[in-house]
Symmetry: C2
Subunit: 220 residues, 2 copies
DNA sequence: CGTAAATTACTGACCGGTCAGTTATTAACA
DNA sequence: TGTTAATAACTGACCGGTCAGTAATTTACG
């Protein structure tokens, strides 16, 4: 019986170099759930199916693990977003829609959606990581939104607005929802219609953005 | 010289009545800055000007201190907001404006503004406290916003909208800003015009809410 | 009053458990 | 057999929580 179980469980054998990703994935889940300080490295290792000593073969310290979690976490997704700029060259409304809904599908709704909570919680404890995240993710994401807004204004589809402030207002409800899912939703989870929430937000923003008032119905 | 210093600094005197508040205030500041797990009770006590032993005269445990911080923190401010409902009986726009800007002045811009970050960070570690906060603060605040929206709709000032979703969209950018101030702002603080941010948000929301389009200028 | 006794707010050294980080050892390859 | 991935046992610093003792304040009493 014991031998059977050992055969079924992936035996501790020489693992390839996929280990770092398995460890950062486990660390991300636990850091998001419990916070950095309250997460024990034994847990992280166990969740990745190895021992704590193995973890130290790949990461110098707990803090180095945290940095790796953040660095490899979200940056790739940003590049995907920037590619949208070229794809939707002539339709700012669809561009904006794809950025926002794409953010939710690729980040907010996945395990990556925990990273905002993690960074908000730990930014002041790891200011250098926070600065990296701010430059590599936040500022880059805001720049993407500003570019989309500016294009819409240039094409006279949107009325002139402060694109910097508007970019922040565009993303705030999405981040807010991601934070919610990884905090209160776990214990106070009133079922909520995410699609309706996003549609309502997008509709509200368009109301304030559109240059002319020909647009009424928002069905899509 | 030493005697002078002792006279100037309010030396450790016996102040039974004020102690709990001094301790919870110190704990709030440190919990928000470093998180619950990373905050040492020695620090909390030192910040309140007492020793750790004294802290345990007033609170049974670290967790009890956390609960006290949350319970006494924000609940009173909610009642003030609810009073606005009666004050602005006939002007839903001003009512909404006062709720939002009042929230920022009374909570977001004060030390209480750290509580959202603290609760988001620790909700999953303290589900019972989170449930209390959800009921006593969040749901109550959302109900207040829903009431203000519903009144505007009833008076035909606002067009019919889903008041529940709209209430969440109304508060999200404010909470987002409060979270920002207590996380990234400390290390990546690009100077930001809070007043402009709030005005832009309010203006955007009104654009989407107003029943007729007579309203154009938003100066006030 | 004055002062001794009683009370109470407060202290800080200490204990025990926990956990990040280390090391001696084993097991799986070539 | 040598090399390396992996482990399990180990260490030591740290911190939540305790408690015997101290100082400030009040009360009792001559």
């Amino acid at each position: 019986m014991c031998a059977e179980a050992l055969r079924n469980a992936p035996r501790r054998r020489r693992r390839k170099e996929a280990r770092p990703q398995e460890l950062t994935a486990a660390a991300l889940a636990l850091f998001v759930e419990k916070g950095f300080a309250a997460t024990r490295l034994d847990e992280v290792a166990a969740r990745a199916g190895v021992s704590k000593g193995t973890l130290y073969l790949y990461f110098d310290s707990k803090e180095a693990l945290f940095e790796a979690v953040i660095r490899e976490g979200i940056v790739p997704a940003i590049a995907e977003g920037e590619a949208l700029l070229e794809h939707y060259g002539d339709d700012p409304v669809q561009l904006l829609r794809c950025i926002l809904f794409g953010w939710w599908e690729r980040i907010g709704a996945t395990e990556l959606g925990g990273i905002p909570k993690l960074m908000v919680s730990e930014a002041r404890n790891f200011p250098e990581v926070a600065r990296f995240y701010d430059e590599a993710v936040i500022q880059r994401g805001l720049a993407l939104l500003r570019a989309a807004l500016a294009r819409g204004i240039a094409l006279k589809v949107f009325r002139p607005v402060d694109v910097d402030t508007m970019a922040r207002l565009l993303i705030a409800p999405l981040v807010h929802l991601a934070l919610w899912r990884h905090s209160f939703a776990a214990c106070c989870g009133g079922t909520m219609d995410v699609g309706h929430y996003l549609e309502t937000h997008f509709d509200l923003v368009l109301h304030g953005l559109m240059a002319d008032r020909t647009r009424r119905g928002d069905s899509q």
